[in-house]
Symmetry: C2
Subunit: 558 residues, 2 copies
């Protein structure tokens, strides 16, 4: 249960505000996250991801560790705009490393930010963490999720940058750390979002969800809850089974509490973890027991082992001084460079014709109708998503349309025409909704807006095609992959063939329902794929809902 909040929708931002107030001497708030107040000319290490995992990610900003953190909404990827804002504030000219767990939304948004920053001449690289052995088998290790092993990778990256390594070397050691890191986790009970009455997911009484992800993603299976000793044995055995080829006996170890498993329980568990790792011939180097990567109040625990070579050991053992993690002597913070203003966001609109203004007003009406429909469907969409995902789809769509409608209205009041209104709506949707679908909807709306441009009429087929092409291009999904594309393509085809929005919406609805028979093709762990069978894809359902809403809205207007 989450007990304390003001506006639950603002929880993540409020927490970040509180953090930056508390650590105002060392940390500075910027749009999309926070950065160190004092910078040195060095590679900027920027961990990031959704909120709800404190001290990940902004809790480890400080000498020897992160130069800043990109912080999204709860369990939701930050937007590309967030990542750009933080990177611009943190870059000292030596380049930027984004590092984050392997989740589709994060990969997409940090990837987009990387493109945009490179276009500005900033050197940017990405180190993606894939430590969760429960999320895919060893032969598909690259598809694994990133969980508490994030911290080991961040620590190594931070120490490397602090040593003065250049961008290529920092990235090299970060990837080496990820390749040497394995984590196994378990959950006893799900977390509850601020303002919610029910947990995001549950674990049956007396059971534990072995391998369950830190957002409730499916793991290996539910098993009876073991004693601390049995759990230690299971964890250690699973990790040692995946010892990297050629690894030595020196290891960094992280016993991490997810939220409601308390310090003393972790210490009890540690007695056996310590013994078992020692008995298996390992030397424990600076082991850490505590809350490093949490999931709100989720009751769970994870064990991370990183096999160290000399270089990794030096970086793991190096000093660090951050709000949530302190080791060794405090590194000096001398040599600060002047602050760089965060990316400005001052929209300017081309002069619009009267026809374009009238079309813009009509589009705004349409956005309002869609907003109403998405809010009414929010919990249903969340429930569909919760079957195989993290249950945030409805919330993300609602946040996206809220932001989009507000941005379009602001643009309209500033004199923008139809195309610019839709572009503003798309950009804000992507920035505020977070997650994969937020990015896709935002980019799709922008593409649609670009097609409309300054004209006063809509070529529906051209607009829908531009939206579809952009979504497919960016998301990389094919029909049959169980994504919104499965409803989007039939909608585009229906509209082209019949010229009738209602008929096209019906085609989209039928196609969305039919996604229940599909299994996601890639990028997801097998248990998740199996679990989703029989449930339609929430993105496809959303798309059909929006198609139906727009169809109804157009009929009312004519």
């Amino acid at each position: 249960m989450t007990y304390l909040s003001n506006d639950p929708a603002e929880f993540a931002g409020d927490a970040l505000d509180g953090f930056c107030l508390l650590h105002a001497d060392t940390v500075r708030r910027v749009p999309g996250g926070a950065v160190r107040r004092h910078r040195r000319p060095k590679v900027a290490v920027l961990p990031g991801g959704g909120s709800g995992h404190y001290p990940a990610f902004y809790g480890v900003i400080g000498p020897g560790l992160a130069d800043g953190a990109v912080s999204g909404n709860l369990f939701t990827s930050p937007s590309a705009q967030d990542a750009c804002s933080v990177a611009l504030a943190a870059d000292s000219g030596a380049g930027v490393v984004f590092s984050y767990g392997n989740y589709a939304g994060d990969v997409l948004n940090f990837g987009l930010a990387t493109e945009r920053l490179r276009a500005k001449g900033i050197r940017v690289e990405n180190v993606v963490v894939t430590d969760d052995i429960a999320s895919a088998p060893p032969d598909r290790a690259g598809e694994r999720r990133g969980i508490a092993g994030d911290f080991t990778v961040f620590k190594v990256l931070g120490a490397a940058a602090e040593e003065g390594m250049d961008l290529d070397d920092v990235v090299r050691v970060g990837r080496k750390a990820n390749a040497a890191t394995r984590t196994i986790g378990t959950a006893f009970a799900g977390c509850t979002f601020p303002g919610a009455d029910a947990p995001l997911f549950t674990v049956p009484d007396g059971q534990m969800g072995l391998g369950l992800g830190i957002h409730g993603e499916p793991g290996l299976r539910d098993v009876p809850r073991p004693s601390a000793r049995e759990l230690a044995e299971d964890f250690v055995r699973r990790l040692l089974d995946e010892k990297p080829a050629g690894a030595g006996e020196r290891v960094a170890v992280l016993l991490n509490g997810l939220g409601s498993v308390k310090h003393e329980e972790l210490l009890v568990l540690w007695t056996d973890v310590h013994r078992l790792l020692r008995e298996s011939g390992h030397v424990l180097v600076h082991p850490e027991v505590g809350e490093i990567v949490t999931s709100l109040d989720m009751a769970g625990v994870s064990l991370t082992v990183t096999w160290l070579d000399d270089e990794l050991e030096r970086l793991w053992a190096a000093p660090a001084w951050t709000p949530a993690f302190r080791r060794g002597a405090i590194p000096e913070t001398a040599g600060t460079v002047e602050e760089v203003a965060a990316e400005e966001r001052a929209p300017r609109f081309a002069q619009a014709t009267e026809e374009s203004r009238q079309l813009a007003a009509a589009l705004l009406d349409g956005l309002r109708a869609v907003r109403k429909a998405l809010h009414e469907a929010e919990s249903e969409l969340g429930a569909i998503d919760a079957v195989a995902g993290d249950g945030d789809h409805g919330r993300g769509m609602a946040r996206g349309i809220d932001a989009a409608e507000a941005a379009a209205a602001e643009a309209w009041h500033a004199g923008a025409g139809a195309g610019d209104c839709l572009i503003a709506a798309g950009d804000e949707w992507a920035a505020r909704a977070g997650g994969t679908s937020g990015v896709l909807w935002g980019a799709g709306l922008r593409a649609a807006g670009e097609v409309i441009g300054g004209s006063g009429a809509v070529d529906a087929n051209a607009v829908v095609s531009a939206f579809t092409e952009r979504v497919r291009d960016l998301g990389g999904a094919e029909p049959g992959d169980k994504t919104l594309v499965d409803a989007l393509e039939p909608f585009r085809r229906g509209l082209r063939e019949s010229g009738d929005w209602a008929a096209a919406a019906t085609a989209a609805e039928e196609a969305a329902r039919a996604t229940a028979d599909l299994v996601p093709r890639k990028g997801r762990a097998r248990p998740l794929a199996e679990r989703s069978l029989g449930t339609p894809d929430p993105g496809a359902v959303s798309l059909a809902l929006i198609a139906r809403t727009v169809s109804g809205h157009l009929r009312e207007r004519t």
Copy 2:
């Protein structure tokens, strides 16, 4: 819920073992707690209390803070023997300060330890923390409980000792810190003991228990759960209402999570606490937000303000380097002195007569009968205690009799006579049961054993009188105070007048039931006193149960 344990009864000790394994480079396990591995010739600051509050108490062992910690069972005072053991291991010749929250069991046990240590020529003082403004009104501030303000006091004591202050000065600044410290807390949900299925206490849905104690002791009242902002306003107003006379505007602040209220919630709350304290003209000096004094997985939060003068500010801001709390540069740990072996516990028994050996065997049988009865009654005694206390009475009695029976059996096998067996039983009861009743039963049994001595016969009146006198003398309770004395005195009188155990046991039972009409006289907050009306005193019920069991056991034997 507590999910991870091996033997729940050994949870506290297992956690301490894990801690000492994890921090083996700086911390050393000793009977009853832990001490710094490296000592300097300085005053030893030793916080202590029951377990379940990590990082209190052993989490703050290290340079600039504690020299060791005395650690009892869960929510149960350590024994006097624990405190002596830790003090002997930590003392470097400059004296020892025990510091702990104001709970009857802690006051009693640390008081007994102080007597014993002084008898050995060691200088010992006590600094009792009384920061919880919800537990008694300002005119009875000395009766208040100690909660998260413990930490501020420990920090000041630790910095003072590290500076090289002598014992008197360390105690002086510690008491000054306590006098300048105010805490208000609240709970949203109770904690659950290892192995237990139900929480120790509950808070009604949508409500919060304002002022509820860290072991579930009654607070001010249940109120509807407010927003974070409203809670901040209420907390700050209550604390500022109790601003000490003459206090300035510079304050140390501690926003403490009790267990399941997570980091991000605390940070959200902090935004308003920070603002309100600033608006009221205060300057915040090194504020801390996090888990400092927890209560297992209790969902709750507390706010502590300490008004600082120059001396307190210097000590509060001084560096410290411990597993759970690190500030500033690391103090040097040079100048260690050689380790002192912990107090030895090698029992030696006088040669016993055959009659005394036979009596010892009979006593052992009696202890076994009492043990069986107490285990059967454990949950019932716990339920009675939970009405107005922390619900651990049944558990404490069970632990006590287990330890007593085992110690008596061990003594018997080592050739001890009746008196020595009972003395061994009493000492172990006091050491293992913890809490006030554990100390009283232990001391009472020891007194009874001393009366029996090497003889082979029991003068029942003399034994019961010795037991009664010792309990009354040590506990300080009068008849009518709603303690075990209310059943003990009628039992003693009944036995003396009738010479019949069964009749005396009946008198004890009637008297125990009659304690339901009493209200505790002193040393407890008013809401607690009111809450206990209508429920008998658990200690009196236990006494009557034991009297009845012994009576039945004697009848069977004759």
